[in-house]
Amino acid sequence: MSGGNVQHAPIRRRWGFGFTWVRLVLFALGGLGLLAVTYRLIFGLGAATNLNDDWPWGLWVWWDVMTGVALAGGGYSTVLVVNFLGRERYRPIERAACLTSLIGYLLVVGGLGLDLGRWFNAWRPLVSWGYHSVMFELFICVSGYTVVQIIEFLYVFDERLPLPRIVRRILSPLYVPILIVGVILPFLHQSALGSLYLIAKGRLDPLWWSMLLPLFFLVSSFYVGPAMVTVENFLSASAQGRRPPIDVLSGMVRFAGKLMTWYLVLRVGDLAIRGVLPRVWEGSVQSQLFVVEVVVGIAVPAALFLVRSTRLQPFWLATGGALAVLGVALGRANVVFTAMADSAHGATYAPSIVELAVTVGLISIGILAYLFVVENFPILTEEEAAEASSHVVQRTMLPVPLRPIPSYVASARRGHPLDRREVAGLKTGEAISSSP
């Protein structure tokens, strides 16, 4: 999350949070969610959820954990692309992507905590290492990465509220190691979410059970990053009545399209090698949902991203982004629900009102937190913030997240607090320039 050559919005003196109707609704939903959380904590999982012995994991695991972690993958993939692969073009979206990721992970930790029957024991894995469990890897990596992201945010925080000198002394040499650990940990736990289901061989439908599950989860979390950024850009652009930056987005999704093609070949090849291919045209609910996932959720968006004429058209670009995101959400749902249905001994599961209220409440709180941070910390670029304050705050709640500003290079020369830190190993005071 280094500043590099991006000019971030000047920081306002006063803390503030503008109110709109939409934000009030979000506050109300967040409040309801907290009530539901209280109910769950007092009365337990049986009273609050529709989970049972045949369906021990439900909505919270699917959405708050599985899908939430995947969709928050935009953070680590942006850090990797910008800081390690040197694509400076995407530097302006780095902070917003990382903020989305940080808030996403805090929600994941919250959602996961609520799902634990004996949450007061949540510290136990730190001393009683069940290292043979994938859940252990997941616990260590997700909590570790959340801490890493909080530290990454401290560098931004420092620009708003200078940290004590001692903290700065500690943080300064940590910058690069933190960046590196912040890429390794997500790589491990994105795949671990898939590895979780390896042990369910025999229970998980063979259409989904594969030794490659960890790789599938990792790859899909990586390509869904650009797709998610595209969707977010279109939402914010339409809220402001402006044109989304098609040129930058199409560059990102082209890469996603290539990755998705490779993913598609792997998924189908894996079925063929395991001899499960005939199961695809069996006509069962499982096979139909598998086809929808692979065709509508992977193949179609991949094609839309790869073909030049469709990826440059706003409508098809947005459609591709939305399909890819929904495809990943459906893919996770297929593993959590569809593939487990046959081994549930006829038992059914549909989320309860409390489960829904908690999930919706957590999302609302997440959006509000994002808005608060964006309005009070140097996250957006100068131009984004200007647009946000002239349109967004007054008209609607949607901010301008993750919108890359191609012209940022022009404003790169002005001094910025972060430039004084030795960001890329450069000497104090040197400005980093980039290739346009």
Binding site: G46, D53, G117, N121, I199, L215
Partner: protein, 314 residues
Amino acid sequence: MPPNTRIPRRTFLKAVAVTAGTAGIATALPAGSAAASGTPPEDLAEEHAGDRALLIDLTKCVGCGRCVDACKAENGLAWREDHPARGPDATLAAANWSVVRSEGRVGAGGEPRYVKTQCMHCLDPACASACFVKALHKQDNGIVAYDPSICVGCRYCLMACPFGVPSFDWDATFGSVTKCDLCDERAERGEPTACSEACLTGAITFGSRGELLKEAHRRIAARPDRYVDHVYGEHEVGGTSILYVSDVPFEELGFATGLPTDPLPSYTWEVSRLIPPTAAGLGLTLIALYARRRQVLRAQELREAVATGTEAQA
């Protein structure tokens, strides 16, 4: 580097990486599907021959339910109407550690058949390997034991168990996992399980796994016309300490059939063992990438400084 060699080199490297990656996965796949475990199943059986075990002969069970009564009494479990412990709908639940399920008149002569169900006490238990705090663990005497004081309540064990055994106490504010512990307390006193002691028909035999396995095969060999030639639990998921023999095929009695003969933890291990080298390789790659990036930035900086200097001179 001259600019014209740049792109082909990069494309070439990328192509090499993608090809190598795909080829690596393709070769890893069959190996992974075969899933070689640390301990081969035969050794596992030998290692656990002395374990506390039960042999359940379904041809001898009359469905009286005395074993269920004994289990409930021994462990202080409540009778609950919504979770029957006997009859056609009997299922394992928080208060049902052992149940007897009626399977209807499926016997060769139309006799009813009953299936006593409880924790199978796997030789290499999936639940214990899935537990990330070791609240579930395999004891030296073969019992898969549970310690609620360190359990986090994540219910991954419920997901992992191929037999659907562990239950969660959903009604409690701080629910815990529950299941048969093969009468661990009695084991300390050297006594058999409560259920086997209560059985009047000889359907439940208590002993060591090695002996009971021999006994099971002896019964099948003595009456090949009667028994199905299959000791359920001998090979399933690497073997279990509860063994079944039957005259009706197991798939008709609601048993989980078609389970792999490899212990389930071996599948996870295939992937988990790759984590340390992957993390190390990834770290080194990132360090190399970052170092290279810094060089590029410095060179650029230098060029620009020179350019600015020239401009200033002009």
